[in-house]
Amino acid sequence: MTQTDTPQDEADLLAAEYVLGTLPLEAREAAATRIRRDTHFALAVARWEERLQPLNDAYEDAPAPNLLPQIEARLFGLPESAQPAKRAFWKSWFGGAAVAAAMGLAVLAYLPTAPLPFAPLTTLASETSDLRYEVGLRGNELRINRIAGTAAEAGRVHELWLIIGNAPPVSLGLITGQELTLASMGLAPGMVLAISLEPTGGSPTGAPTGPVLVTGVVEKI
């Protein structure tokens, strides 16, 4: 063992320090980015996690309160009974219908087939691009719809990402056409949606590799 480490050893020690947790914030964030982009480095981190994993037995259990309802609300949206906004929406709708019925209009026949509109959540945009995607939510459906700009050129694709706090972006899917509809994945205010330009088939690394084209913050669900 010499005082100067080879680049390979240097990378492995950095992986070890990342797992150990001793790095300062900036170096830590840089290492987290490298995990997503450098498979060798990611493997080195995984091996260190395995090496040091026997220490995990030293963590003692501490009962956690049942926070599952809050977590599920973040992920899957609030249960019906806890959705004041939506209830108010329905109430106003039926209220309106009642008035209409009282006025002798055949509104009720129309109601069952009327699709609920997508409630706008945010618009993904950027100051440097004409590209705009509108994001809407209807029940458990999330729709991302391109309302301005063009699709990615041949060989490229727009990839949608969810960013929660400082966590690495999570891919939600590829937008190959005009729009993409997903099962709702528990958006909450403050989360960020972003579109990056990726090779056809999507990011090869699991993290954005191309330029981020447009972004938007979820403001209110």
Binding site: D9, R28, L55
Partner: protein, 188 residues
């Protein structure tokens, strides 16, 4: 360093993660019951604050749902993967704090060594764990305690350097050399 690949049969957490990757919400509730105490223990130990740990538990399980598809049962056990998410999140929170806890004195070093000794003595001495105990014992006791304090409590180079009364770079070198020795020993 090849060990037998863990099968989901004897790794119930891995089996749950596979179901969660298929968006099965019942499995998500089950993993919360099965793992929340352990992860709460990790978060409390690192963050040292129950309110923040409870906040962090929510964040950690949110990530578990969103990232379950990336779990690879051939690379490690389910609980190891969960604890890595919890530790990483807790340490990110610590490092993001504006003020680092400081002003610890010699007592803190003694305390640190104590908790670390009990950490290892608490390990079930079998297979991998026994080797880990042996490898940590081969290190200088102070350095072994520093490595374990860093891992278990999320102590930064700054805090460790202060506790052991050495410059940060010295502490970093100590730990890097210790990690190299551990790697040699654990990979045998």
């Amino acid at each position: 360093m090849t060990t037998a690949l863990p099968m989901t049969d004897d790794d119930p957490i891995a089996a749950l993660l596979t179901r969660i990757a298929a968006q099965e919400r019942a499995a998500f509730a089950e993993i919360y019951s099965a793992a929340s105490s352990k992860l709460m223990g990790v978060l409390l130990r690192i963050l040292g604050n129950r309110a923040e740990a409870e906040d962090a538990v929510q964040e950690v399980f949110t990530r578990v749902w969103l990232r379950a598809a990336r779990f690879d049962g051939t690379k490690g056990r389910g609980m190891t993967w969960l604890i890595a998410i919890a530790r990483n999140h807790a340490i990110d929170r610590l490092r993001s704090r504006k003020v680092q806890p400081s002003n610890d004195d010699g007592d803190a070093v003694a305390q640190l060594a104590d908790t670390s000794r009990s950490a290892l003595s608490g390990l079930v001495a079998e297979g991998e764990a026994r080797r880990a105990v042996k490898c940590f014992e081969e290190l200088d006791p102070d350095r072994s305690a520093a490595v374990q304090g860093a891992y278990l409590e999320g102590l930064s180079y700054e805090v460790l350097a202060e506790r052991y009364g050495v410059p940060i770079n010295t502490m970093r070198t100590w730990l890097r050399r210790s990690l190299q020795k551990l790697r040699e020993c654990l990979d045998q």
